[in-house]
Amino acid sequence: MFASSQAEIAQLFSFYNLLLLLEGFAATLVLSALGCFAGFLAGFVVAIVRVTHSRAMAPLRALAFAYCFLFRRIPFLVTLMLVFFASQSSKANLSTFAVASLSVCLIASAYLGEIIRSGLESVHGNQWEAAQTMNFSTFETLRFVIVPQAWRVVVPPTFGFFVMFIKDTALASQIGVMELTSAGKVLTNKGFSSWLVYGTVLALYFVMSYPLSRLGKRLEKKLAATRNR
């Protein structure tokens, strides 16, 4: 089909193919960033609900626990399909990208809820009591006492999760979201060699997640030094 492999490479990196790959790259990036940010916020709320002790919060606490517990045990692909078909049969008429973002947020908040909860619980219980004695409200306790101590524990696994997450979004290609993996599929269907296309796609994923995992490692080292008293 192509005269030589050089001609094929030149063809593959023509303007429109590059545009396709870049669009895919951007979609993957947006999808994972959205999942990370929305997931972090929702996960934070879930985690805070889970560390409360009052009796009034018991049903909510059980709900948050069940949410974290269950959604971490369902494969991302199955969650994706579940949201996809549920949105179809309920006639919500969501775009595939919206479906992907929704399931991404669902999964991310469950995982991050667990990570943040373990961070919050790593702060000794005496700190809560001390803050209560000094007449801090719950919000003030969290804001000034718990979170400043907890985030050192939370940050390293969070970065690990972000990297895992960028990789998980590859599954969104299964419902037809045009992200990086789908762009790769389209290009192989155009007749380019799979070596070249999937090699490029792998390299692009690597470019996306490697800096993040490096940053995570560095932060882990930096924070561990201050954490081990």
Partner: protein
């Protein structure tokens, strides 16, 4: 929207068979990955510089690229040089390749957690090398490594669902089949989700028991 679970639930032996296949993939990939990880972790600790660099490159590459695209690569690119893999083999190799890197990291951390002083103390007490490994190093390493290892196994069990994309009829693949036969997609995938929760829960409990009695590791299940 009404849900009809009966047609799906009638097929539960079919789905359970799929779950069994999922577990098989996970266990096989985990076992092979353990071996690769052990070799790589030993190389990282005792090997020459160039081998260490190669292992580090492998770990960085495998942990920073999606397993799905790796399997795509194996499945679609290797036939161009004449290596045709069956879907099952491709998925297994991809999962093993991925697991090897993660398990290498876990085992490296486990090796590093051995305290030199304990080994020295054992030497002073006249332990032979085998005795040191058996009574000092292994109990310590196993206790440290067990929780992340069991966690990795659960993550891998969930990861096997992507085998369905390549046509392996494991739990997700069979769920796809059922949903296209019956058009009850939401129901089919909810049943699959429940089955996945059940499998991973059973695996977690089993691993926690093994961990407690064999490795003296304390694992909180709930």
């Amino acid at each position: 929207m009404t849900l009809h679970f009966e047609p799906i639930l009638q097929q539960w032996p079919y789905l359970l068979g799929g779950a069994w296949l999922s577990l098989q993939i996970a266990v096989l990939a985990f076992a092979f990955g353990m071996v690769i990880g052990l070799v790589c972790a030993s190389v990282l600790r005792y090997g020459p510089v160039f081998l260490r660099r190669a292992v580090t490159a492998y770990v960085i590459f495998a942990t920073n690229t999606p397993q799905l695209v790796q399997i795509f690569f194996l499945f679609f690119a290797l036939p161009e040089i004449g290596v045709t893999l069956s879907p099952f083999t491709a998925v297994l190799i991809g999962a093993t390749f991925n697991a090897g890197a993660y398990l290498c990291e876990i085992q490296r951390a486990g090796f590093n957690s051995v305290r030199l002083m304990e080994v020295e103390a054992a030497e002073v007490l006249g332990f032979s090398t085998m005795q040191i490994v058996r009574h000092v190093i292994l109990p310590h390493v196993l206790k440290v490594m067990f929780p992340p290892l069991s966690n990795q196994f659960i993550v891998m069990t969930l990861g096997t669902s992507m085998a369905s994309i390549f046509g392996v009829e494991e739990l997700t693949g069979r769920t796809y089949n059922l949903s296209s036969q019956t058009y009850l997609s939401v129901e089919a995938f909810s049943v699959a989700a429940v089955l996945y929760i059940a499998i991973t829960l059973i695996a977690t409990f089993a691993l926690a028991i093994v961990g407690r009695y064999v490795c003296r590791a304390k694992i909180k299940v709930l």
